[in-house]
């Protein structure tokens, strides 16, 4: 791995080669994806076209009530941004995955996922019909058919999104800092279920007003 520092962010590249991946899948804009990742496997998300928010949740594959916790994750590392070295913590205090490479440098976990209902509040009541991440999440867990429901849709990670907090306690949505081909890579520390909504939001710049596909890749655990 090699690390560089760009505008205060430490960028770490992975040595894993794309042609050695055991799984590759392109998630189109607005689509969900749900998949089990085994302990020790490496999981990469590639922002193919740049500035695409990838709303992501993780669950302990053996107990879905033990799931990714945004608050436990930021509290554990005492930092609100996710990047290389961040341990993605569960509600029960277990490490689900560790970020091991990151060429973007900063990811958000405070902004959550868009929903028909939050769009009505944030933009206009007439926006209810617009496709939203939490609809994708619900569709995916319903089709997964393992008893998951809205109760399991909690505060997620927004890979490639830039949501700073100011000293006055304001939350701001800044232009993305991702570019085409940027990626984030994690090692699964336990068997996990990954749930992604490739964000369809058109009402704010989180996808540069043009949602685009992303690629997910998995490599086998090191022998």
């Amino acid at each position: 791995m090699s690390a560089t520092i760009t505008s205060g962010k430490i960028l770490v590249e992975s040595k894993l080669r794309a042609d050695a991946a055991i799984y590759r899948h392109v998630i189109n804009a607005g689509d969900p994806w749900i998949y089990e990742i085994k302990q020790g496997q490496y999981f990469r998300i590639v922002d193919l076209h740049g500035n695409q928010a990838v709303d992501t949740l993780f669950y302990n594959a053996h107990d879905y009530s033990d799931r990714y916790s945004a608050q436990d994750t930021i509290q554990y590392q005492r930092n609100i941004y996710l990047t290389t070295g961040t341990k993605l913590m569960s509600t029960a205090g277990t490490v689900l995955l560790t970020i091991v490479a990151d060429t973007c440098g900063r990811h958000d976990t405070l902004g959550g996922a868009c929903a028909n209902e939050s769009n009505m509040v944030r933009y206009a009541i007439e926006k209810r019909h617009m496709h939203a991440c939490r609809s994708s999440f619900l569709k995916a867990v319903t089709e997964w058919d393992h008893g998951m429901s809205k109760r399991d849709i909690t505060s997620n990670i927004n890979f490639f999104m830039n949501v700073p907090v100011t000293p006055e306690g304001k939350l701001t949505f800044e232009d993305g800092i991702s570019d085409p081909g940027k990626y984030v890579e994690m090692r699964a520390e336990n068997d996990v279920l990954a749930l992604i909504s490739n964000c369809p939001q058109l009402n704010n710049p989180c996808n540069a007003y043009n949602p685009t596909p992303v690629e997910v890749m998995i490599w086998a655990a090191e022998p």
Binding site: G8, Y64, S65, D66, S69, A70, Q71, D72, I74, Q75, R78, N79, I80, Y81, T91, A92, G93, R106, L110, G111, G112, A113, A115, N116, E117, S118, M120, V121, R122, A124, I125, R134, S149, K150, R151, D152, I153, T154, S155, P164, V165, T166, P167, G169, K170, L171, T172, F173
Partner: protein
């Protein structure tokens, strides 16, 4: 605001508490000794899969703190609670709660057998026990607020706990805009650097209050909140 106090009680230090705060009533929490922390999670009592949503609350109002004029959103675009009064100025919506491992690492081993009712409580177990009384469990444990506490965030994202944020006598008023199942505990903030186990008590006062007027502070504070009130009022039509 025209208020009739219905009843009052004290939540002891390190204790859990729950109540269905009815629409048309409000909850005043008062920090009795200074330095209190109150962890809270909130649900629509009639349909608890509708619950407090940290990201929706923060992004609808572009905030990383809670004070007068702000509201607490559910995941369904409705307002559970409005902050109608606050003498503190900053309440933390990000820092989360403590768990058994953290409390044991910070304050040492403790048990009921040894310490009786002063045994060390942690936020997560406190939430789960109180949620269990309402038929809810780990799948319902979502991001919580920490009333009376403040967490600052620096440019590089570092979180730091601000000491002495709340003084003795400080209070916050939460008005119920729905029938809200309120789950609270007075465990210390997880980022509180105090090396001693010293949770603080708070006073609870339940009041009857008028419905939010057209010029209500929380309703007019942002256009987003105006729409939030509209959607909440439609739920009761």
């Amino acid at each position: 605001m025209n208020q009739t106090v219905l009843w009052e009680e004290t939540i002891q230090s390190g204790a859990s508490w729950s109540h269905v705060l009815k629409r048309g009533t409000a909850l005043r929490l008062t920090d009795l000794d200074g330095g209190a922390n109150v962890g809270g999670i909130f649900y629509n009592f009639e349909c608890p899969t509708e619950r407090y949503n940290m990201p929706d609350t923060l992004k609808a109002q572009h905030i990383a703190r809670l004070t007068s004029g702000f509201v607490l959103y559910s995941d369904m675009g409705r307002i559970l609670l409005s902050v109608t009064g606050d003498t503190v100025g900053w309440h933390d919506p990000m820092g989360g709660t403590s768990n058994r491992k953290l409390i044991e690492a910070k304050y040492g081993a403790s048990s009921y057998q040894k310490d009786r009712n002063d045994y060390h409580k942690n936020g997560r177990d406190s939430f789960l026990v109180e949620l269990g009384k309402w038929g809810l469990g780990p799948r319902d444990l979502v991001a919580n607020v920490n009333l009376f506490s403040r967490v600052d965030v620096s440019d590089d994202g570092t979180m730091s706990f601000a000491p002495e944020n709340s003084k003795a006598g400080d209070s916050i008023d939460l008005r119920a805009e729905m029938n809200v199942l309120i789950i609270l505990n007075t465990c210390q903030h997880p980022l509180d650097p105090n090396p001693k186990y010293q949770p603080k008590p708070v006073q609870v006062s339940i009041r009857q209050v008028a419905a939010p007027a057209t010029d209500d502070l929380c309703r007019v504070s942002r256009p987003e909140n105006g729409r939030g009130f509209t959607l909440t009022e439609r739920y009761f039509m």
